[in-house]
Symmetry: C2
Subunit: 321 residues, 2 copies
Amino acid sequence: MTTRIPVYDDLVAASKVLGKMAHRTPVLTSLTMNRRLDAQVFFKCENLQRIGAFKFRGGYNAVANLSAEQRKAGVVAFSSGNHAQAIALASKLLGVAATIVMPHDAPEAKVAATRGYGARIVSYDRQTEDREQIAQSLVQEQGLTLIPPYDHPDVIAGQGTAVKEFLEDVGPLDALFIPMGGGGLLSGSLLAAQALSPDCAVYGVEPLAGNDGQQSFRKGEIVHIAPPNSIADGALAQGLGKLTFPIIKQYARDILTVTDEQLVEAMRFFATRMKIVVEPTGCLGAAAAFNEAVPVKGQRIGVLLSGGNVDLSAYAGFLQA
Amino acid sequence: MTTRIPVYDDLVAASKVLGKMAHRTPVLTSLTMNRRLDAQVFFKCENLQRIGAFKFRGGYNAVANLSAEQRKAGVVAFSSGNHAQAIALASKLLGVAATIVMPHDAPEAKVAATRGYGARIVSYDRQTEDREQIAQSLVQEQGLTLIPPYDHPDVIAGQGTAVKEFLEDVGPLDALFIPMGGGGLLSGSLLAAQALSPDCAVYGVEPLAGNDGQQSFRKGEIVHIAPPNSIADGALAQGLGKLTFPIIKQYARDILTVTDEQLVEAMRFFATRMKIVVEPTGCLGAAAAFNEAVPVKGQRIGVLLSGGNVDLSAYAGFLQA
């Protein structure tokens, strides 16, 4: 596996690899929010992407860039979330065998969706087994290639194609708000913005309870934290990546945080006013913008909605909160 | 008020009048549904239209086509639903004073949204007062122009622009499933399909409990029914219109019905798999297609999602059902 830090040319290449396989997701607007913030707000809807999240972009780009030999041997990923489905669907589309290592108590809907894309599921016990070890043994014993969820140049480049499209569609922006976990989406977005809207202030947004990224950004080195507790279950990474952090350190304007209450409020706004389902993690950028974590008045701002995969009963609970 | 039955040229004119005022709403697809039905299904997302429903199209077209004198005097509409918001927003955008007659117990969110668009609200008591009489007295005493919710050529032509766009974007279809209340959307859709995809079988879909349209279609004359009871609150019209019925009678392939349970099932599908909020009425066409009310196997079919305005706690209840 290469550990080269990707550049904008890799995003251009990823766009070609993705071609029509990924949806060019719509950009929506809301007069109500424009008025409330006295700004012009554009929402890039990656919740409407295949598998319901931007992760399809990076997953597909990574699997597509494997050598013929690697593709023949198959891939493995460990994830209980959107990355698993991304690798499963990408592999199916590319005719590659995929193995997903998932906890045996993962939500039935997610297991079914992943299996529905034709992946083999290897389950493990969260209490007694280590998913990385299981994945590594599959790599060693069966020659599978491990596709990590964010710290990989092809994954980062693939994720960056969302903001590349976004800026191509709406033109330069004053500010961009991007959900952040391990930093794959944010670092890809930074490369896109640097090339297409270099004056744009790009903010990564993470849950207040899991602000390792903010700590890392301010300290200038990767800070690891204990497993955080937030409804933003796609942003619970305990530390940024070796490839994502240098890009974030160099190009991000700042890392902002939001509370779970602000995420719920944003989710309700999207359901009532914009008629879209956005998962808690997908609301991170929006919640920072809506609560004016930085001034946005009079600006043209972009908000990336990263995903919409939320358990139905949990979602109903958030709406009724 | 003209009572001329509109033709396709009126849709072409309405498209020009609407210009960029209405969103060209996205067309989404779902691999899961394609597989389930063994068909290629396209969803036209009018839930993502301004005010959250296709009604903006007809409302705007009707207000825009008034004479200078009529616009100066102002307009009136009676509705507790999407038509009220459509007329309120259209009027605001066109600099016309709008009065909306609403029941005093209308949901606070709807009243607030309508007022937010700058409309004057006249409330009435459902038990003791008649909204049509109130509206008519405003017409006579204040010279306002009444914009009816469906039985008006400019309203029909405006609604028809949704399917016009849809067919322009995806090409000819084998079948189209359209929600139906008073028939404004369906009759406009029929005119669009007749011009752009003449072999397409176009179905109107209404709630089983309020099947006046089906009865009328089969009998060949307008049948009126008692107020029906369904969660599809935008399709509770008690009879088709004098302008909408002749178009439906001539061009519709059939009128289909679905149950409330099928609407809930469709709502849940849209939330979980497609990440969009669709109101019960908006799911009518989808529910007919999903349950194969007519055979769709091997076909290219279009489903119009007419709106997404549903009270948040009611919606949460549907998702948890």
